[in-house]
């Protein structure tokens, strides 16, 4: 296997609000190989957007990256000294823009020396190595400037092009994303574009900077289904031609099936299952993933009634003790209220399939799940106690 392009390890981003600390991202790890489309799936509020923004260190106050590591190739985007919090000696390494850099303030983790400075992030990473596409194409373009002008500005910043050449590259890119009459549309303002067209513009923006990785933060959620389909086709086509890697954030399992190579399922700031897309759909290992799959219509199966996930997701400010999903989990047992399982490999052969569920006894022998009493969550019968014979 290739060395991963992007590695996220135990990343933690918390929001320090007046009501308390919200652990929006609480120790997630995943990686992205070159040319791969990796999904990050979960309900709204699971922490997906915060997670991907943390990669580019774009989290805004009161949010702060408090721990973990993000590496891109051989560069450290996020990295802290082990077991050290800054003393009051701080202040000397804030020569850059006062952004949201996890600088050294009392009680904050100390950045390692190799962690890129804010200006290095700006000059070397943001845009030219990692580009991002946001969810809402209506809000992502500046209404007072022309679409072409914005595209050209980003191209000039992130590639060795300027003036006429940058303009031509911008028009070329608009053509690439199938915007008709690109030369003329270059001069138009965002309000003259439809939602789908604007999302094409944003994709053009991302590709135009020729990054190695594009983070797509629910880029099709705000679009209607036919437009979504067209955009997904476009992305797949461009991905094949440019070989760009993607981190694809979505809450839509249908989109995952359509576009992703590997998938990370997030619940309340944690990753609960990681697998290749086929394994995830056909050999689901985590009850939450199963619940997500049950809640979507599948064309290949006739289902009487869709099965929504019971209950609502708890507040991230006050997550349940033990496994965070146990309050809604049909398989929850007494031990689940006490132990919060990390993500461990449950199927070793082929691409590793990891899950954070105690019912996989081979991975969590210490939990003794099957000896524990079912808590009879949500009045649904627990699956027959066959041990983990299905593994």
């Amino acid at each position: 296997m290739h060395d991963p392009l992007l590695t996220v390890e135990d990343l933690q981003t918390h929001f320090f609000t007046e009501d308390g600390v919200v652990r929006a991202v609480d120790g997630i790890s995943f990686d992205v190989a070159p040319g791969e489309i990796v999904g990050l799936v979960g309900e709204s509020g699971a922490g997906k957007s915060v997670a991907v923004r943390s990669i580019l260190r774009l989290v805004e106050d009161p949010g702060r990256i408090v721990g973990g590591e993000v590496r891109f190739r051989d560069q450290t985007l996020v990295g802290f000294e082990d077991d050290a919090t800054a003393a009051d000696t701080a202040g000397d390494d804030r020569s850059d823009d006062p952004g949201d850099e996890p600088g050294s303030q009392p009680g904050r983790p100390v950045p390692r020396p190799e962690m890129l400075s804010e200006s290095a992030m700006r000059q070397r990473i943001r845009g030219n190595e990692i580009a991002i596409i946001f969810q809402d194409p209506m809000e992502s373009l500046n209404p007072v400037y022309t679409v072409g002008g914005q595209l050209r500005e980003f191209i000039e910043l992130n590639r060795d092009l300027s003036g006429r050449a940058a303009r031509e590259a911008a028009v070329e890119m608009l053509r690439e994303v199938n915007i008709p009459d690109a030369e003329r549309r270059y001069e138009d303002h965002p309000h003259e574009f439809s939602g789908g067209m604007r999302q094409r513009v944003l994709i053009a923006m991302a590709l135009a900077c020729e990054p190695s990785l594009i983070i797509a933060d629910e880029p099709t959620t705000a679009l209607d289904v036919t437009v979504e389909g067209a955009i997904l086709d476009l992305v797949r086509d461009l991905q094949e031609r440019y070989g760009t890697s993607f981190v694809w954030v979505t809450h839509d399992m249908g989109v995952v099936a359509e576009i992703c190579d590997r998938v990370n399922v997030m619940y309340l700031g944690e990753i609960v299952e990681q697998a290749g897309v086929d394994e995830l759909f056909h050999d689901t290992k985590h009850p939450y993933t199963q619940a997500l799959l049950n809640s979507i219509p599948r064309p290949d199966e006739t289902v009487e009634q869709l099965d929504p996930i019971a209950g609502v997701m708890p507040e991230a400010i006050d997550p349940p003790a033990g496994c965070r999903f146990h309050t809604r989990c049909p398989d929850a047992r007494e031990v689940c209220t006490r132990r919060n399982p990390p993500c461990r490999t449950v199927v070793a052969d082929g691409r590793p399939h990891r899950a954070a569920c105690l019912k996989h006894e081979s991975a969590f022998p210490e939990a003794d799940y099957w000896a524990s009493r079912p808590i009879g969550n949500l009045e649904r019968p627990a699956p027959d106690a066959r041990g983990d014979g299905d593994e």
């Binding site: 580009a131 809000e139 209404p143 007072v144 303002h189």
Partner: protein, 333 residues
């Protein structure tokens, strides 16, 4: 629609508004209790005197007749004769208007020049000491009446420190011969600025504070928009984001507020002229009201309304210029 046609259209729209202003002012002025002729002639005038004055100013005609006559006069650019000054209203206004204009425009200039950077800095350094200081200043500014600020300024800078003159206003384009202690145009300009400083601060503080507050909140709002985050995500420098990606967008509501503040600035100017003994439109309108000088009341009100309307139209045009979505109404948003 081009910007020229848009401007023309806005001007056409102003005509019915002005007509309404004329009508309401006319009725209101005539509804003021008291008789202008009596005010003019004192307690016991002779019947003949009263009748001749009434005939001279057309006050013997029925109200509707006077209204129609007034409209016809206005259409010819004639605002009638002042009963109190016994000169044409237009002459009086032409004499007073430049001072008020100078006062108001200078106050606006002062307000904008101070408020815009203050608001931007305040937003950029949110919850830092600079921001707190700016917010305290603007809160005091919006909640303090301008005449009180004027009186305090006179008390401190005129009577205690003796740094500024307290009365009248010198027009910067006045003839040096007419200005005491001035021999050149530069001297006149200096004297004018010297006289202008205190009234401008007194009148401009409210606008300055109001604009600062809206500038700050708009900048904060824009800085949290997705397109600003996107610019950041593509490696745009913070300075460029502030200057290019956020500033222009934040100005739209600021422009609106600047336009709307004109009304309060006109009211403020009347008070400030009284405080600083400036012979401008404000003093004129007060004199007109005290003396029940119908033509003068209506004339000054009309000019103020016209001034306000022009301000609002300019605001709209600026808005359309800054925000392509307005696009002079030709395209759907």
């Amino acid at each position: 629609m081009g910007i020229a046609r848009y401007t023309l259209w806005r001007l056409v729209q102003a005509v019915p508004v002005l007509l309404g202003v004329v009508t309401i002012t006319f009725l209101l002025a005539n509804a003021i209790p008291g008789d202008p002729v009596q005010t003019m002639l004192g307690p016991s005038p002779s019947q003949a005197e009263v009748a001749s004055i009434r005939a001279k100013y057309g006050l013997d005609q029925p109200l509707w007749q006077r209204y129609v006559n007034y409209l016809l006069d206005i259409a010819r650019g004639d605002l009638g004769r002042s009963i109190y000054y016994e000169t044409p209203v237009t002459t009086k206004i032409a004499e007073r208007f430049p001072k008020t204009m100078l006062l108001m425009l200078s106050s606006y200039l002062f307000a904008i020049v101070v408020a815009v950077p203050l608001g931007v800095i305040s937003a950029k350094r949110r919850n830092e000491p600079t921001d707190h200081a700016a917010r305290v200043v603007s809160l005091i500014g919006v909640s303090t009446p301008s005449f009180w600020i004027g009186l305090m300024l006179i008390l401190i800078f005129v009577f205690k420190l003796g740094l500024f003159p307290s009365t009248n206003l010198v027009l910067p384009w006045a003839d040096p011969a007419d200005v005491t202690g001035a021999s050149t145009r530069i001297d006149v300009l200096g004297t004018a600025l010297h006289h202008l400083a205190l009234p401008v601060v007194a009148l401009g503080t409210l606008q300055m504070a109001a604009i600062t507050r809206i500038e700050r909140s708009e900048m904060l709002d824009v800085l949290s928009q997705d397109y600003v985050t996107l610019a950041r995500a593509y490696g745009v420098r913070e300075r460029t984001i502030l200057r290019k990606h956020a500033f222009r967008n934040a100005q739209l509501p600021v422009i609106t507020i600047i336009g709307l503040q004109l009304a309060s600035a006109i009211g403020g100017a009347i008070l400030i002229e009284a405080v600083f003994s400036i012979n401008g439109m404000g003093t004129l309108i007060l004199t007109a009201i005290y003396n029940l000088d119908y033509p003068l009341i209506m004339g000054t009100t009309l000019v103020f309304s016209l001034f306000f309307l022009v301000g609002v139209i300019l605001t709209d045009i600026t808005y359309a210029y800054v925000d392509p979505r307005v696009s002079y109404g030709s395209k759907e948003v």
